[in-house]
Symmetry: D2
Subunit: 392 residues, 4 copies
């Protein structure tokens, strides 16, 4: 059985190469249907979003890429945007397609009963692959707001046919090293039936498409009581877990900071990731944040979120796998549970502070950010112009 | 035991005087945090909203008042707006206060930690009572978006103190025939703790305030699995049911057309209303719609919703109370359930068509609306200007 | 567009051949963990359960088979039990395996960490196929209570491996015309992770096994807010819907009479069945009841349940498919919804009464049962002996 | 701002006097409706249950009382049972009434439509007060399984009348220093409407009864998404929080070990207890466990549960109240959240080990229990006889 110091060393090796991707849209204004509260210093364009993202990486050391959302982050020259990111020490990550903010999409995008609207939506998805080619992105993330609000509104089965057809066309356009991440969501904005409502639906479509299609698990997109770590374990076993969209929620898709609502759940998820090889050096699993900082400052919110993932990962890596396996084998329920809880109850903040010092970082990224004056500086610089936000 | 025809006659008498209040905001554009889809012909100001509301009443005969939302429906001269409504055959109903769409309310309105913001919010509530004086409205409906997104963000108990203080000040301002309706909601836009999250909280505050404070039950504001008709029965028994905000939902606060998601639940609710005297001639219960027609046309959506409430009410009135009571007394589970279901399974559409003919209305309000050309006319007339919507 | 009478005639043709399978265990005592209330006349052995089941078929005409549960319904001579059923006018249907009521299964059956327990469980499943051979049953229904109560208790992924291995061995034992129905359930009796918790898991295992493995949808086994009809539509499209276990619930797996809690949901499910061909003459979908009559009389409870399924089916068959398709094609949300609701709001009880008269049955099976004296007779005859129940 | 060592010292003072009450029934066999798995060494009578409870107190030092359940723990001489407890170093705590396990209670106890059944139930409750007089217990805990399974089955409002009448009669029987704890529960065993389903109902009845009636919060008895700590804060503010029944759940009323499913929630609850004065020296709040150890050993399960409560309490006591209040006052969302999380993320196990050493206890009660041989000894001694369990 490995002693704690040894597990700590192994954990550090994995934590050192951890890679958490930030979402460009987390830096823009966001809110609920009731109100979007504007914040000072919010970026006005993709270039400023990339800069904020780079600041988070500078302080945490584990957030080296930023995901883009098209058309929110549409620019004339994507190669230039990628170069801008590189200059700031990060890279462009996943490309997120957006086919839900045009008036044409009122009744759906790729599953719309109108073939013209479907064509438009598919064309946008294909355009996103062009962007990937320009930025060198590996992953195309597809989340469809498609669904219906009322029973009878549209034919559930026909919408699956249309979905399969659209996915197939996009899949065929992918380059040899590109992947399609299919995301599912229980509800919102569709309020009766969503066309990709659960992991089973996403998995089934990915199976049919082929090996470049994998599932994206957004931790806020499940029915109450869903055991998310089970899904993670299942998809890893099936070789179909492609990515996480991390956030947390007490109710619906609240998009709170990951780890804020149920840190124990995040730990259990990360434990299954470790158990299933999802943190191996050659992992195909992408770890992304997907959150809305509606009332808290956005850059600080991202830093805290990154740290929360790090802490959950560290705890998961500290689980005494031998002791756990032994207790499981013997059917010792309390000992097996205790083996997991011992790791969870450990305060890993000193370990992570050491890691940061090792990497030449401030051991307390939140304090370092506060001292840096970055927030004040951009609040000053970014006066005027339209702040970016959802839909802008 | 009353024979069906007799119960039908009794039912008709109640249905004839049914009063369903429409929300002015249902005629404006609405949507989710992802997208608000604009619709042709949407009103550009409160006067046009009142006109649309009057059209629904003209066709259904049971929607003689329209509720206003301040500041969305702010006008210089409320008496003139009330006169405009009267000219169109309806009246102004409940005044809804809105203290959630100003940047100052980011951390709450009447429960905000900042006393200055609380003062501003209370002043708005008091202004709403002024509006009531001007329009002759009986009811002030208070829904607070107040709450917190993160554990620790604010002190749960102190927020209750602040809430109680604000309610008390507003209550004291009410005239002798005015009431305060306190609405509760589980979550959204607050994602950790809402300050009035459930009927118990609303009830407790109303008890403390006095007899002019009563609870408003929004049918979409409960945790999953909540038995809403129990709450209705309980509040009626306690004399504290003030009003309904009707809508329906499959998931969260979806604000779909009432009766669309679970018509059986609506029937059970209306049965408890009947059972508890809430449809008596002197009822103090207000029946209001509170919905968002995000993808369907708004006037037609309101007509359908009114009809859905009528149908549920008719079924509730057709329950054979004697047979039901006898089966309940004998502990005959299946017979008691069947007594209720017999009414529910009855097709009441012919009965309601008769009622409408009796009242000189078209028996099919949806078809009458389609034939009327109203929608096409306003779509033509209301070109230009900014359409009204949530927050406008 | 078909006129109502024509649709009514088509509906009658389908309703005439409807086949609803009854569960033998519904006639035994059942209850909650708090209390099992005994009822007079409850069967004392499988032979009496079959007799009660035949009585339900005699009165309803659409329940010609009874499912068995092994070992609850273990007899020495299954061929004799099948002959007994035939003598009473019915047949033996699905065989349900039970690997959850032996002390050895405390930590699971086919997923137990102990290989000896797994062997015992698999052997029981194989024995069930022997029973099928003896009774001529087509379907083996597998529901596993397997899962864990505490995080860490056992390895989620290893349990999937064990599950796959067990399923594979049983699958290989099936005869050419036999099927394996894999049922999923969110939780209970496992309270942390269930090994087959959702349709996705069941579907994935069935895909891997082959075409004789299909999914069984128990309508009470989903997370709150799950759109069951979507799952039905999806599985029918994929050719993997094997069967229903019908019941209803307001909360968890309440096992109330089907249609009692949400008749509109049952209608929507049956509509998707119709839409997807699940009621075609050559359908591979089995329609079974799986309920507990904890407080209501069991035979009458079964009759009511059968009638509830008939009513929902009749309404689903009355949907004007042409009108619905036209409205959907045009994106007319309200008209499409109305096309569905028109059928739902129709009172189909007269139609079903006609059907029964046509078939030489009493138009009111509940009243006929009450008049028959059957319940009183068996209450008299079945004094003494141990009543059957869950676990007996 | 208090430094950590000082807060640690304050925390220790409170932890030293912590009082967690154990439930006698946790030591008996329990299970689900599917199966009760028997365990070796399970008590055969109340005397042995008291002995097991004393063993948990001997090892943890904070569990000095055991709650009884009548009639499960009915003995001829309650004074002798209390003396037996005293001899073993503990006392008899709360008396739990049980009016749900008699065939007469099929349709309810105090809310049954049959007045004879109601009389019987009330008489049992009054008998429980007699037991309290004999044991010197302060609290009578009332949980009613009463409710209905089907809409229409009984009259919701009449059942409230009957409930109020029964409660009033019992309340009047209480001695000057006795209290009535009214517990609520969303569902199970009733599956449509429960007569005391939520805190609002319990609170309203307690208000009407008087100051000796207070609410008992069972942490497993809420709808999904309910913010329990809000209820705790609200009831403490209103002076109506009487007691906790601690356990944890992922789904329904799973009755898992407290803190096992969501340790962060338990911490938030304990924080509100601290904030509201519920751990003050003169607190009127009783802290009880109410769990079922279906698959894990019972004594060890109780020890682990006691430790989980201790750990959550310790963390709650370590919250830097000054820092938290300052951040809340300033509206600094992230700093306020961090103040709470800093305490939660602290590993308090060393602190509690110190506390135990101080009190002459083994710092690791689980290990001490394993070494003690108690489990093996009682497994040997308690052969023969009927094991106690739910319903025995």
């Amino acid at each position: 059985m490995a002693a704690l110091p040894e597990r700590g060393a192994d954990a550090l090796a994995v934590l050192r190469r951890q890679h958490i991707e930030l979402p460009s849209w987390a830096f823009g204004n966001s809110g609920t249907r009731f109100k979007v509260f504007a914040q000072p210093g919010v970026p006005r364009d993709p270039w400023e979003k990339v800069a904020d993202s780079a600041e988070v990486h500078r302080l945490t050391g584990v957030a080296p890429t930023v995901a883009l959302h098209i058309p929110w982050d549409r620019v004339d020259d994507y190669a230039a945007l990628a170069a801008h990111a590189r200059d700031l020490g990060i890279g462009v990550g996943t490309i997120n397609a957006n086919v839900f903010q045009d008036d044409d999409y009122r009744l759906g995008s790729v599953t719309n009963p109108d073939p013209g609207v479907r064509r438009k939506a598919i064309d946008h998805l294909l355009e996103c692959v062009d962007v990937m080619d320009a930025t060198g992105s590996r992953d195309l993330k597809l989340w469809f707001a498609d669904g219906t609000n009322y029973p009878g509104q549209d034919d559930l089965r026909a919408r699956q046919d249309r979905l399969a057809e659209a996915l197939s066309e996009v899949y065929d356009r992918l380059g040899p090293d590109q992947r399609l991440l299919l995301e599912y969501k229980l509800f919102e904005p569709a309020f009766y039936a969503t066309d990709v409502p659960d992991w089973g639906t996403a998995y089934a479509h990915c199976l049919e498409l082929g090996e470049k299609a994998v599932v994206c698990v957004d931790t806020g997109h499940h029915a109450a009581h869903t055991n998310i770590e089970f899904i993670v374990a299942f998809l890893l076993r099936a070789g179909k877990l492609g990515a996480f969209d991390f956030n947390s929620r007490f109710y619906a898709d609240d998009d709170l900071m990951v780890g804020a609502a149920d840190p124990f759940q995040l730990f259990r998820i990360m434990y299954e990731v470790v158990r299933g090889g999802g943190l191996a050096a050659d992992t195909g699993v992408a770890f992304m944040l997907d959150q809305c900082h509606n009332i808290e400052p956005k850059i600080a919110g991202q830093i805290r979120s990154v740290m929360n993932v790090q802490e959950a990962t560290a705890k998961a890596l500290l689980v005494d796998a031998d002791a756990l396996a032994a207790a499981q084998r013997e059917g010792d329920v309390l000992a097996a549970n205790a083996a997991l809880m011992d790791a969870y109850n450990t305060d890993v903040r000193p370990l992570l502070a050491d890691l940061r010092r090792d990497q030449g970082l401030d051991p307390d990224p939140m304090a370092a950010h506060a001292r840096s004056g970055y927030a004040e500086r951009v609040a000053e610089e970014r006066r005027g112009g339209a702040q970016a936000g959802w839909g802008a």
